[in-house]
């Protein structure tokens, strides 16, 4: 189970946090909580949803503890205009410029391919809000891609 879920879960946590600081702690605590109150099923899909939900709660706690919706990496980030060509290609850094909530929703929707119900459960938002929140996040990312010269690069 760990082998099949750890990679996607770590990627989700790292990308949502916008950096590696605290990521492994959150991943470890996610598994500890899950193993402390394990599901009675062996179904991988249910386990995966369970893990992402716990990780989502931990991420929310993390942001609340920090008191603001930004990561340390964001604070150290240079402005878009200052970026050189190398940085422009660093997709992770571009993504880290979004709000944590936007990163979380976009990752769940486009990488995990979660449906609205699963996104709502993992992100701790109402199912009815997911569509609107996702649309806003998408627009913000599109604007960011334009600013960084990435818009149109991904579509073949």
């Amino acid at each position: 189970m760990y082998g099949q879920t750890a990679g996607p879960l770590r990627a989700y946590v790292v990308r949502t946090l916008g950096g590696i600081a605290h990521a492994d702690d959150i991943v470890q605590e996610t598994y500890l909580r899950a193993l402390r109150r394990p599901l009675e099923t062996a179904d991988l899909r249910e386990w995966r949803a369970y893990l992402f939900r716990i990780a989502g709660n931990l991420l929310t706690d993390h942001w609340r503890t920090r008191g603001r919706e930004a990561s340390v990496d964001d604070a150290a980030e240079p402005s878009v205009r200052d970026r050189d060509a190398t940085l422009r290609l660093d997709l992770g850094r571009i993504f880290a410029r979004l709000r944590p909530r936007d990163r979380q929703l976009l990752w769940l929707a486009y990488v995990e391919r979660a449906n609205h119900g699963e996104i709502a459960a993992a992100a701790g938002v109402r199912v009815q809000s997911v569509k609107v929140l996702l649309s806003r996040a998408r627009n913000r990312l599109a604007r960011l891609l334009r600013d960084t010269g990435q818009y149109g690069v991904g579509v073949r």
């Binding site: 598994y31 500890l32 109150r37 992770g92 990752w107 998408r138 627009n139 891609l145 991904g154």
Partner: protein, 131 residues
């Protein structure tokens, strides 16, 4: 209300997110699953231990409460019935009063740490209960 640009962004964002997903993560070695498993077993044992001792802890609290209430009642009864006059009337009442005061004091001593929020130490301070 649907944003006008939304449809245009969907394909672009989806493609870009796919590229991002294939980017290698800036990570060190993953957390050791064996260590996680061991910690989880310890925490589960700790939970079971707490569950088992919960009734004992409750019993202790009830015991302290009853002791405190009883000694307070004895003290009040003594004061109501004449205080010092009773002491002079016989040694048994003075002893009774002394015992009730000792009982009351010991109940306060026992109850005070519990009332001030003394909690058993958790084996892993990073773990909080899932609420």
């Amino acid at each position: 209300m649907r944003n006008d640009h939304d449809d245009n962004h969907v394909a672009e964002v989806a493609a870009w997110m796919e590229r991002l997903a294939t980017e290698p993560l800036p990570l060190q070695a993953p957390p050791d699953p064996g260590l996680i498993w061991l910690k989880a077993q310890m925490l589960r044992r700790w939970d079971a231990h707490r569950q088992t001792t919960a009734s004992i802890d409750l019993g202790e609290s009830v015991q302290v409460g009853v002791g405190a209430a009883g000694s307070l009642l004895l003290l009040l009864l003594f004061m109501w019935r004449g205080g010092a006059a009773f002491i002079s009337s016989g040694p048994s009442l003075a002893i009774g009063m002394a015992i009730s005061l000792v009982l009351l004091a010991s109940a306060v001593i026992v109850a005070f740490p519990a009332a001030t929020g003394r909690q058993p130490q958790h084996p892993s301070p990073r773990i909080r209960s899932e609420s």
